[in-house]
């Protein structure tokens, strides 16, 4: 590292860099590990000095230990960061308080004991026979049920929150800060005065944290959907009386929650009703296990001809499958080697893998994997005694999305599937969606797909080549039976997954109809 290169780093960290110089710095850091080390050392110095500059202003010599000194100083630092705003905020708060107090009497007299009022009714709005509250625009509403048979209604709560209701819907008006949606669709706007406004459903409470959101409840299944348009909400999940779990949900995200308060799906950006279109996917491989030749070739019956090679220390055992024959993975040595096609497989940025499985080993059963030269680069579909899991690693830490199941009955064939696209993974068993997610449950890393695996060199059915930093080869395996493994480029919809579950041995085609 020469002085000029150090100055490049300095200029970047001091936010004084120009576009052409930035290009030079990019090149330097891309190609020179010592320059990167220097960059980090200088950045650490910068942050350290910033920290010390603040700490020194507040550090007290009376503290007994260095740690206490630091803790206290950092606490002070946070106060310091807010105190600049403190005085101004206090003045504003006083002004607001005065205005609110002056207006309060007017408001109180306007609302009386009422909780809400009907601010707007569409021309086609009609209430059902059970509706017992006033029915005209401008009517004040007390506690009770508003049952809209059709049309639209806008309800303004005394807190300032507004609910646009689309019939048919039943909305319980409880307090100025709380409502209950029995069924139907509601669009909620809660201004600052109505922060913490609650829309409860049978399976959860949606607590506003300054936002706009839509919530709907299916009258028959009692499944709820929440879609956050602006701001943030907390979902307090679980039925009344049961232990609750809190799930924050921010703008752009949507969640589907079943009647028991379990999150079925969280999606990002595209909205919950925009499920993947089945037309996107095309069959890439279909390993039926019906034709395993003497030369150990595991035939792919699709047009792509991604034949695998059966690896086994002893003679592989073929058993009767859910459709034709199945391959029994009797010990750790059995796998289907797909390394010959790793370049094709590593291009999958959206994919579906589905297979039938029987008697999987309860500890850990590796169904499909694609990995690099070490365990730090991999994606894998695997089973545990109570879970179907899709896992990935892009660097030092492994993460996964898991779908909980009730176990694996001995001798029974199960259909399992995973889809992944645009950062969302979905897991299915027997055609039912088990779980979905855009981040892992362990440390919250974003979902990986085969295309994100760097230097992919291994691909298997029934095995993960887990190179342990490349220094010592080891692997994870599958013991159990596999049949009818299908791989698609693109994501199959739930209906398509349901189809291949109901039609063992038949791959899904875009023209397929679902009678």
């Amino acid at each position: 590292m020469n002085e000029r290169e150090r100055e490049l780093i300095r200029d970047y960290l001091d936010d004084r860099i120009t576009p052409d110089v930035l290009e030079r710095l990019n090149h330097l850091l891309e190609t020179d590990a010592i320059a990167r080390e220097e960059f980090r050392a200088m950045a650490t110095l910068e942050e350290g000095l910033r920290d010390l500059a603040i700490v020194s202003e507040f550090a007290s010599p009376d503290f007994e230990s260095v740690e206490n000194k630091q803790l206290s100083s950092r606490t002070s630092k946070r106060w310091y960061r807010v105190e600049h705003f403190g005085f101004a905020a206090l003045c504003v708060a006083c002004l607001v308080l005065v205005v609110l107090l002056l207006r309060r009497d007017d408001r109180e007299s306007e609302w009386g004991d009422s909780i809400a009022k009907i601010e707007f009714l569409s021309d086609d709005a009609a209430f059902s026979a059970e509706h017992q509250l006033p029915e005209t625009e401008g009517s004040l509403l007390g506690k009770g049920w508003l049952r809209l048979e059709r049309g639209h209604a806008r309800i303004l709560f005394r807190s300032g929150a507004t609910i646009e209701l689309e019939g048919p819907a039943a909305l319980g008006i409880d307090t100025p800060m709380r409502s209950y949606l029995e069924f139907g669709m509601a669009s909620v706007y809660a201004p600052e005065t109505a922060r913490d406004f609650v829309v409860a459903t049978e399976s959860m409470e949606v607590v506003d944290l300054g936002t706009r959101f839509d919530v709907s409840v299916d009258a028959r299944s009692h499944e709820s959907k929440v879609s956050v348009i602006e701001g943030l909400v907390d979902l307090h999940l679980g039925s009344r009386g049961a232990e609750r779990m809190i799930q924050p949900l921010e703008a752009g995200y949507a969640a589907r929650v079943d009647a028991s308060g379990r999150i079925v799906e969280i999606t990002n950006g595209r909205g919950i009703d925009k499920a993947p279109s089945a037309n996107e996917a095309q069959l890439l491989a279909h390993w039926t296990f019906d034709a395993i030749n003497d030369d150990s070739k595991v035939e792919d019956s699709s047009d792509e001809q991604l034949h695998g090679i059966l690896r086994a220390a002893n003679q592989a055992k073929i058993v009767s499958g859910v459709s034709g024959q199945a391959l029994s993975f009797e010990d750790q040595s059995v796998s289907v080697d797909l390394r010959e096609h790793v370049r094709t497989l590593a291009q999958l940025d959206a994919f579906t893998f589905a297979t039938w499985v029987r008697d999987p080993d309860h500890r850990l059963a590796m169904l499909f994997s694609l990995s690099g030269e070490s365990e730090e680069q991999r994606v894998q579909l695997y089973l545990a005694s109570r879970f179907v899991r899709f896992g990935w690693q892009d660097g030092l830490h492994f993460d996964s999305v898991s779908g909980r199941i009730d176990g694996w009955n001995s001798g029974k064939w199960y259909h399992v599937a995973v889809t992944a696209k645009e950062g969302i993974v979905r897991l299915y068993r027997d055609g039912e969606l088990l779980a979905s997610g855009s981040t892992g449950s362990k440390i919250g890393t974003p979902v990986s797909t085969p295309s994100t695996v760097k230097n992919a060199s291994n691909a298997y059915l029934g095995r993960l080549e887990d190179g342990r930093q490349g220094s010592e080869s080891s692997h994870q395996w599958f013991i159990g039976q596999l049949d009818d493994a299908q791989l698609y480029f693109g994501v199959l919809s739930q209906e398509a997954i349901q189809f291949i579950f109901e039609h063992p041995g038949v791959p899904w085609k875009p023209s397929e109809s679902f009678e």
Binding site: E47, G48, D51, K442, G444
Partner: protein, 187 residues
């Protein structure tokens, strides 16, 4: 020890861990290529929130700094993706490399930060004051130069020399850590 966020022990443990290791997390974020301190602050806030939500999943609180840095890694990449159009920032490949390599250095960065404090104490009082003044929140070189009756560029160069001295002091100390020799600073 319970790390459940809602338990008093969990809360106390989280606050203590965050206060103790916040500067390591900041250094990690800055060292990943986020140049502006206010951007570092923004990311640290997000990381703190996520770390709090996931704190119950952390099995050993001693692993907090590295664990929090893993969380920070993805927030940094997200921040870069969202802001690269309106900022002069390093390319994504460089970010990846810096983030990946820095994860193995959380321990040593912590040691560097501790050493920096000792090195700063060894500077002459006037130099210490200048450094601290330059790094205070909201400080600007132009204003400091005006109040010191100097040209901004001259002051910037003076600060750069002090930074290099501190850097050398820290490097020397880290290199000599095994024999516990005390580093010295003489501008």
């Amino acid at each position: 020890m319970s790390n459940a966020p809602d338990s008093p022990t969990g809360h106390e443990s989280f606050v203590r861990a965050l206060a103790r290791h916040e500067r390591v997390i900041r250094a990690y974020i800055r060292g990943a290529g986020i140049s502006r301190p206010e951007d570092v602050d923004e990311i640290v806030q997000e990381v703190s929130l996520i770390a709090w939500q996931k704190f119950s999943q952390l099995e050993n609180v001693e692993e907090f700094p590295r664990w929090a840095c893993v969380i920070a890694r993805y927030r940094v990449l997200e921040f870069r993706r969202n802001r690269f159009r309106d900022r002069l920032v390093l390319n994504e490949k460089v970010f990846d490399l810096l983030l990946e390599e820095a994860l193995n250095e959380t321990e040593s960065q912590n040691a560097r930060l501790r050493q920096l404090e000792r090195c700063l104490d060894q500077l002459p009082p006037v130099s210490q004051q200048l450094v601290k003044a330059a790094y205070e929140p909201g400080a600007s070189i132009d204003e400091l130069a005006r109040s010191a009756g100097k040209k901004a560029n001259a002051l910037y160069q003076q600060l750069w020399r002090l930074r290099q001295l501190l850097r050398k002091c820290v490097d020397d100390a880290m290199g000599n850590e095994t024999n516990l020799s005390k580093p010295s600073v003489s501008p």
